[in-house]
Symmetry: D2
């Protein structure tokens, strides 16, 4: 079930970087939802390549077509399918990569798994391009959540050692998230943003790339979403996030920082605030026992440097069974974070909407 | 599906800390497997309370009974069920906790989710005690994997800022993992282990607790396990790990360290080594594109300090709707890491066996 | 996932006829439900052996114990586990059956599937005894549905060629279903019931058994439950019903009778009745396009004669690899229908409650 | 999960009769399979309208395009997506049907379920047209099974009371199935076929339709596929079959005929035949305890008369809330069986391949 995700709301994604089309089928969207397609296109454009000097200059419009499930400007309640035709494929760029395994990519693991039958052109199904349908599905979810007062934002918390200041753990305003979403490199501290930009462009000049950390925040979430154990909100979010290429770590709240904490520092004390139960702090990232507590859900993702680099690397040629080296030509992202941010926001939204819909059956009778 | 996990191999867990019994049903174990029950009991004992001065002195034998699925010393191929009777319940210890929400626990989030119907005694279904059936299921998996030459070990990589040295990223020997599994606080550097022990006992004296980091390594895994996107090995392992109470972060390979890396440093170059493709380094923790590459799978888990502490904390009394404070009496773990380690090893084993069994259908025809 | 069923409401069953215990884990029951345990015991007793002269005289109390998920007389919202200890096992009765495959049973197919590791005592996991936990799970569902005004009944529509009159397709009263549930052989026409009883007892005398048809009706179901295609109400009910041993056919509404119908006879015309849309007839068994329409759901199940018979039959001895014959001694049901009826009602209830809970997420926003 | 089916092999279908496209995503197809696309097109053409005087004269080429998962003439191992553009839509034919609920159709049940948001044009997602992607997915499965020596055939066992002779329960030859697949109305007895044809054309003249029974046989299946209880082969096949519009009943082997059998007549005795265990008869349709036994799997499906008829029927106008009547114009199938047969064969193949792939993990170690 590699290409299908979800409990109540499900998405099946398909496609290869250089095949005829990529897309998705979304099953479980309730009937009667209406979408602002301009806004969906805007979210897709944030992820698309060619949008800024920080990303690959490849131009792909990622124009999507709705194939089913939307009628008279509303969801029908049955599967909503979408496709994006692949139009800007440079197949000849990738011919050498059939036999030379790119370090840091899934070329070799995919080759073994699929017995050599995988589509090697541009990474095939492993391509970051396949996050476009995921972004689409999540962008729909984001709009539904917005109607519930739930909003999601993310920023580059760190790029190659340069750190932005963090979101306030008790939550930021929707306006800030909106503003960030319009930026080519969303940060809170503009100065740090400039330094990050320089680091990215400098890596690009060297034919290299840089990694970083994305911080994501989900505000407005009611208490009670998620489950203990296997469907904990942390489990579901982490499951989804590690589906996003290049993500290599996730931490909620203080995360790895807890290693230096005592219990008396780590626990979020509770108080009544205007008749509502609140936590005074939010070290736990809004989730306890796998269930949301009403505070914002905060998590951070480690994003590794783009694996495609121009610098020459040692690798193997599997057709000859010998060692070789490789410089990956073509147009690559010197840092994937600017384009990963909308994917991460969208993917989070999908998980949260799935939890929200699942919760409807869990709260039967109330 | 909160209490059911798995794709091909599934486990359903049940129970509350103070109910009649806890246990699990395992569906999908192939027929004809034979287990060394003494070894299973040994793994269970590693997790059980009362085993060392670093853990709660509560004595629970966690004696399990097989209810089905095992006949003539082999699995039958149908559901294997197990139960552990709860025998050492101090219900009166918990009466105050019905109304006072313990900070850092799921008392409040569970109360909201279940509309006040949750079993509040000892955390109910949120209790760490429910990891006993998970440890059982995973210990079975561990034995099956052992027959495939796959072995798993973990150690306390850090406790309250004191750091052990890491596993070698290219893999440790099975003997080391065996030796670690016999230790009450598994570490590589004995000196650091003593410091950690002091930190734990010192926190205990203050009525406080400490957090840390567990490093886990899976050796002997063949290349080709896992899938791109939603069933990536990272997704599956992370999903499971966030089901273990107190885990608040996971990183694979360099994880958050990638934020300071360049691509040329992060990519693992490949070479032929005695005719086999190997990576020279293992920054990516043995997984690329969600699929194992043949190097050990390395990951680290952030474990927060035990939420149950004797120190007085501010919280709410939901029966009176007012603020109050609370000192949690009774017998608690000043650091959960020594007891979490066997759970983490077992839970990892369960995920890997599930992937191995899933892979059987994926490699049909080969 | 052989032993796990359900979409939103899930049940995992376990156990073998002669193992220590049988039982189930139910995941997805909303919190706050309260059950009348006497009524559950009554439903279990309807299925239990030894209750009438029409069933095997084996005495099994099928006394169940709740292990988790029920606290302060309400469901907690987490997994509800139940076990029944096996107490009346006559293991020696079954020793010959280790090697002689009983015709009409799963002895041989199970032997092949599980490579000879299956528990052969009393059919092991294939035993009809494993329907006890299913009956339990369904009896809980039945009580929840009852609170929604949904009630379910079944009767012996036919036994060995003797036909009872059918339920009225537009629905029967709850009182009739209650009365039927108190009968050892539920029929509408008492005369036919006596004939059936004679046919059963006559077959028993010959060391033989008889088959028949069960008709089941679900009343009070609102329109809109179920889905088109793969989760059609018919698909879900049929899936469950073929899990009940001895069921070999299912038909909804006119079922196989449709083969002689014209469209103008088969279609259920619609009218407004006191402002509500009604069908004039109910040939389609209350389901169109996989979705309930508000009329009762009617279906009939073919139940084959009990495979265990005293009459001598040709079969194989797999230990010697030669032909042999076999007379199955011991105490068997000359007709399984009286004991199958409560299983069928309960299993139906489980499916309907699952649909009802699933519907809660599908109707989000309404 | 209405639009997703399968355990190890999964298919997600999408589309509406009058939307831009219909199609499917198949997840879990092993890598390295090669398909004869001409043969797939032939299977699709059997289902397509306009192919004979017994079917609707609507012309739809059902030309499919592979969007992903197939590269260098082999499956890649990742999701295989397919779409069929809708080209021959007569939207204006259906305008009246927005408000007048067609008896026997899902118009009303769909209207209630989806709160009026369903696509009402041509039945929308309820249209029989959506079986085209299912036929596609199953046709792929059929080819894979063929390589395993498993072949599937079906014929019109009965149409409007006229009965063809049955398949031999111990199996027919692949050549017969091939021959049947080339016939516009597959029957064993040509004379009966002519009578059936007359009955169909006669009903058409009256503006009416007729129902019937399809018999399907799966030959060459090894013993050991399927599972006890919830994933019994009967459960899986029935689940799938009730997803095919117009199917209202299924019976395996003697099915409802068992109601007149004694156990001694119903049990299939076993013998050694050239060293292999065989059953002498095949009353149980090749399945015992949910598991295949090596004999052919035989089942029969009740297919109701096409609901779309020209004859005037009483129904409701939901826009006015009043009774009305309706004559459904346009081009309809006077009997759906000729076009349902390839769907049924394909759908069966999908289930069997799913079982075969699932079995690979279940037989781990053997």
């Amino acid at each position: 079930m590699s290409d299908i995700f979800g409990r109540t709301l499900k998405v099946a994604i398909f496609g290869e970087s250089h095949g005829p089309a990529i897309g998705c089928v979304i099953d479980g969207l309730p009937a009667g939802l209406s979408f602002d397609w301009e806004e969906i296109r805007r979210e897709m454009a944030r992820r698309a390549p060619g949008s800024s000097n920080l990303a690959t200059p490849r131009k792909e419009k990622d124009a999507f077509e709705i194939l089913s499930g939307y009628f008279n400007d509303h969801t029908t309640g049955t599967a909503l399918a979408m496709e994006i035709r692949n139009t800007n494929q440079h197949s000849k760029d990738y011919s050498e990569l059939k036999v030379k395994m790119r370090p840091g990519h899934a070329d070799y693991t995919g080759h073994v798994k699929y017995g050599g039958f995988n589509d090697y052109r541009g990474g095939g199904h492993f391509s970051g391009r396949i996050t476009a349908p995921l972004t689409f599905a999540g962008a729909l979810a984001k709009q539904v959540l917005s109607g519930e007062g739930i909003y999601i934002g993310a920023h580059a918390a760190e790029i190659h050692g340069i750190k932005d200041r963090p979101f306030h753990p008790m939550g930021e305003r929707a306006e800030l998230f909106r503003k960030l979403s319009l930026s080519k490199l969303p940060v809170l501290d503009e100065e740090k943003g400039k330094e990050m930009e320089e680091a990215i462009l400098s890596a690009q000049k060297e034919g290299d790339s840089v990694g970083g950390i994305v911080e994501c925040q989900i505000c407005g979430l009611p208490a009670g979403l998620g489950d203990p154990f296997f469907d904990s909100l942390e489990s579901e979010l982490a499951h989804m996030m590690f589906s996003v290429p290049a993500v290599k770590g996730i931490e909620f709240g203080e995360g790895f920082g807890f290693a230096g904490f005592k219990g008396s520092e780590a626990n979020d004390e509770m108080i009544y605030d205007e008749g509502c139960v609140k936590t005074v702090t939010n070290h736990n990232g809004g989730i306890l026992g796998g269930i949301s507590g009403g505070s914002p859900v905060n998590f951070r993702l480690a994003v590794k440097p783009t694996a495609s680099i121009g610098k020459r690397q040692h690798t193997v040629d599997i057709s000859r069974g010998e060692n070789t080296d490789l410089s990956i030509g073509g147009r690559h992202d010197p840092c994937i974070i600017p384009r990963a941010i909308p994917v991460i926001e969208a993917a989070s939204a999908f998980v949260i909407l799935d939890s929200l819909l699942t919760d409807r059956s869990e709260t039967y009778g109330r």
